[in-house]
């Protein structure tokens, strides 16, 4: 893993118009490996949209996004989305047990990776057998975090990860993000949560980067 000046994600000049509305205009953000970057901007300003542009769930009309110096448009989208993993604001659990969610789409899941992902998300190993449809909001948030980590990402994108959590659970998530960043993963958190920003962010940016 090379960690040079161009390591992580560098996005600039991102513009997107949808249904005649300018959703993003000249947005920029940088996510460095091993650092937690908080993306703080008003509601409706395009934070979620920008996160989805970074792993090409949405295709910007303008701008450039580089991952470790490589234009993301040249990377296979499935590979890109595993390297730049997204945890949505209201994570959807897929049918089956938590373990089924954790290994979803993985050709040859490594039990050690699954165990580490559970630990990183502050979940007991016994969670793996729980039916995913029966989890509380806080548990779903942490399972979604663990599920993203089983992709072995370089960058982790989180959309309002503490929005529906109580303060204690939110602190657990913040601590988990710190541990994840300390392992060299770049973390970008779109959030309104000042407490989360204060607890975990190395850097706070707006949509202008």
């Amino acid at each position: 893993m090379s960690v040079g000046d161009d390591a992580g994600i560098v996005a600039h000049g991102i513009g997107l118009t949808r249904a005649g509305r300018r959703v993003l205009d000249d947005a920029a953000v940088t996510v460095a490996p091993g650092r937690v970057t908080a993306l703080v901007a008003p509601s409706g300003s395009g934070k979620s949209t920008l996160l989805r542009c970074l792993n090409r769930l949405l295709e910007p009309d303008e701008g450039t996004i580089l991952l470790d110096g490589v234009d993301v448009r040249t990377v296979d989208p499935r590979t890109l989305r595993r390297r730049v993993a997204l945890v949505a604001q209201a994570p959807v659990m897929l049918p089956g047990a938590v373990h089924d969610n954790l290994v979803h789409g993985l050709a040859d899941p490594d039990p050690a990776v699954v165990a580490r992902a559970l630990a990183d998300a502050d979940l007991d190993p016994s969670f793996a057998t729980r039916p995913a449809g029966e989890l509380s909001g806080g548990e779903r948030a942490r399972v979604a975090l663990a599920r993203a980590l089983t992709r072995d990402p370089r960058i982790l994108l989180l959309d309002e990860p503490t929005a529906a959590l109580d303060a204690t659970t939110a602190d657990h998530v913040a601590d988990a993000l710190r541990r994840i960043a300390d392992r060299g993963i770049g973390v970008l958190v779109a959030t309104h949560d000042d407490r989360l920003v204060a607890r975990v962010a190395d850097r706070t940016v707006g949509l202008g980067g």
Binding site: P77, R78, R81, A88, L94, A148
Partner: protein, 217 residues
Amino acid sequence: MVGALIALIFRHPPLAFAFVAVMAVVAGATSGGRIRRIPGARRAALVAIALPALGVTGVLLLVGAFEVTPRAAIPTAGILIGGAMAAATLTGRRLVEALDERADEVEARLALGDDVPTALAPLVRVAVTTGVVPVIDQTRSVGLVTLPGTFVGLLLGGASPATAARIQLTVLLALLLVELLAGLLIALAIRRAVTAPGERVVVPPADGRSATDPGRG
């Protein structure tokens, strides 16, 4: 008026081809109109209906299941086109509704690294099942709950119950196949229409949203 038209076709058999073609085009327009948000919906529905319905009609005529006459071909094609239209409409509407209702799930699957066919597979499966449930139920309950139209018509026309039952069974099995194929074809056409470059799903908006638009932040 339709009776007079069919009487004319019986006197001039080549007109049967045009009549069946019109039936298929109207069925395609009707079914495609139900999912008009999808680009090329009417054309896709026409293919999904005409291909299996006319293909199976042709096979039934070729193998001698029915006489190669307008009197046999038009009702057979009509039943199969009607069944295919119902299946295509049910499947198409269910899939388009699911693309809206389950947009977050589709996004989650794509975000985890699924390609579009894999991400949409659960939605396609449910939609196709929905589309063929009526004909499956009809086939399972035939003779117990209902006496189907073909059977009744043949009896009223003077056929023996055994002959009527044999023909009805042939029609039901053909319907089952045609409706399954119509459902699969329309589902695949919709999947193709909403697949955008870069393994993305883009559903033309019905109300200003699209499947990959989180509508937040």
